[in-house]
Symmetry: C4
Subunit: 237 residues, 4 copies
């Protein structure tokens, strides 16, 4: 496949994934962005900044190199969150797509500064344990290179906690909102859908039972590995 064909295909996937966000009720106005990386071809494709979804076209997707430098002349400005995406791709080699939204329920946990406990199997089917929340960025971090530091604090959160970002494909940035990722843009979007759903479920669960406990580890194991890894038996072969 030529590089040009490959980029066209990436643009098509990234475009479709971006449109899937308002369709799923996860973004309003121009909020949210999806990117895809191809490390071998050395390109990242990402949503342009601030373009309304109803006028955005597939050719508006922005192409950069692996450091986030624009590769196409005359193209639009990339999402202002590009540097966060780049930082995540550098740190986590297995993720090929990153999604950022301000989806309502995930945002409320990010604003509350709390990790989301694994209260049920809906959570366990996609996230193998708590969905972590980063620490708050410092004034110096925000002032220097905000979007880059947002990426760094996400990476730090996974390293410090020992959580595997492939087993927990999402995070809450303190006071901000969720990022999710996956092997494809579609998978990364699905993880955003699930994250918002379990965020709402977890909140209401605590209203229904103020002393609720997370599910036991053996049930978390069962559901996650029913869907992931070599012993998975959910879905078709």
């Amino acid at each position: 496949m030529t590089n040009k064909t490959l980029i066209e295909e990436m643009k098509a996937r990234v475009f479709a994934a971006n449109l899937a966000l308002p369709d799923a009720g996860l973004v309003k106005l121009t909020w949210g962005n999806v990117s895809e990386i191809n490390r071998e071809a050395g390109v990242i494709v990402i949503k342009p900044s601030g373009i309304p979804y109803n006028v955005m076209r597939v050719q508006d997707m922005v192409v950069t190199d692996l450091s986030g430098k624009l590769l196409e002349e005359g193209g639009l400005r990339p999402s202002s969150d590009l540097a966060t995406h780049v930082e995540l791709y550098k740190a986590f080699k297995e993720m090929n797509s990153v999604v950022h939204t301000h989806s309502k329920n995930a945002v409320t946990w990010a604003q509350a500064g709390r990790e989301i406990p694994a209260y049920g199997t809906t959570h366990a089917d996609t996230f193998y344990g708590v969905v972590p929340c980063t620490r708050q960025l410092t004034a110096a971090e925000v002032a220097s290179a905000y979007e880059l530091e947002t990426g760094k604090v996400i990476v730090e959160t996974f390293i410090d906690s020992g959580i595997d970002p492939l087993a927990v494909p999402g995070v809450l940035v303190y006071g901000h909102g969720p990022f999710t990722w996956g092997t494809t843009p579609q998978k990364a979007v699905e993880n955003s859908v699930v994250l918002d759903e379990i965020a709402e479920m977890a909140c209401v669960t605590e209203v229904v039972n103020t002393r609720v406990l997370p599910i036991p580890q053996y049930l978390l194991d069962k559901h996650f590995f029913r869907k992931h890894g070599i012993n998975a038996y959910y879905g078709q072969k």
Copy 2:
């Protein structure tokens, strides 16, 4: 009717009932599954595992015998929850269809580990008393035959509590989510719709009045038997 015609008709009903779940807002992604049993013909028809609703076809429905063994060569894998359905059909001879969802509000009560009290006539019209929540499965149960044991713990819940599964056509599996049933797939889906609705109503009712009490038995009797049994007078003859 030949067995083949009968199976085609079951597939059509099961397919339609599965599609009704996302239409009713009860499932996201590939969550949820509906099955139908015909004990005389010795067949169960159930949704295939992990197929997106927008590409799923009527011929993709999976046919098994009464023990859950596949009857059609080259068919898709059945829902991973098949063993739970089989167990329920074995124990409760009057139910012809089972539905499982991760509908948001019913899940929150399952995650909270609480039965849903009968706070009003919306509840009483369909569920004759509390909608029970199972105990938590043990590590041994989850490790040995998870889906089968899920069915067993549901049956145990009804036997131990003395609740009649025909009068209360639904249950919450602890930390997981709801199962409902009925005489037809359509009826079983309707019971899932009602269960999610009353789950949300019950939660908000407790917010509006933290000391709310269930409705009295005579009102529960009145509304349930207005719609069910030989003295029912709701609907057309």
Copy 3:
């Protein structure tokens, strides 16, 4: 106008108003019913019992006399709540249409057994003061003539509290749900829309401020009489 033409027009209005309920998100399945009365012609037209909205036809509307006795041979059974409607029409001569739903938010206040306080002008624009909640029906009342007694306890609630049913065109029946009314089926449906909206707003308002107080009487007066009565100036002449 002949009586036949008049009834056809009533059927059209009652049919449209019934369909407006699921469109407005106020009813699921076959819940909810609308009726209209014409006292001079001596007829009530009401929704048939238990017919799904998507197959219900205008000619299925049921015609009764002012006491609820069926006037058309071969017609469908009327809504099981007919006796409640009849009782309200008997007591309140100025209402020409009654609506009953199990709309989610209004039901939660009915289940909570609480009247809805007037927390804002959205409430005051339609309801001149608290929306009352009836007392609970006794076992004897439920056993004898449930739907009739439901009407009676609504009437009792307005008489005992001194609330004017024209100024507060709705009520919550304890443990059950809302009834609203108006001069036309469309107006009565609109009052159901408003009642559910203010029920949700009131609940969330109490979450945001656990010590919230109702708006002062002068603001209630201003907003209600801006829209109602001889000094109203909202809308077109």
Copy 4:
């Protein structure tokens, strides 16, 4: 451009913005209104009072002078909130459009009588600090010139608090609901969308963490000025 062409264009924008409100789920029935001002031409265009959205036509928009006096003979009555719009335009010379809704979540904060704290970057992207809530109007203010006084109390709220209405393009009127504004009707509507969204997020955030704190000033600065002012870098050039 002739004055007539200018007014036609204003009507088109105001009409479209009014229709955008129910589309965005911000208004029910005939609630809500949008206006636009052109100070040089000396005209305000505003929604007519009480016309259902589905029958409202572009030519129904009402044209007034800068004091709110009708300019077109035979036109419809203007929104009953016109005097509030006029008062805001007089006080704040940089706003060209005002929007009023009874959107559910913003109303709950207005009814609760609380300003909305800046709990996250979704808030900070549009509102540079708390969204204030006015004091309650006095009986005398409500009795004398209610809609005018509503405008005055909004102006007073910004003056007394020192909040810049361009940096915080919205307010909650105590016991009533939100007003937002902007340089165009579209922008003013977008601000209503954001205000309702952050109102809901803030409420749920407090449920998830009862001791949540607002985001630090440096994060508020970063996000607001990423999108506004001479150093903004969000969106396209």
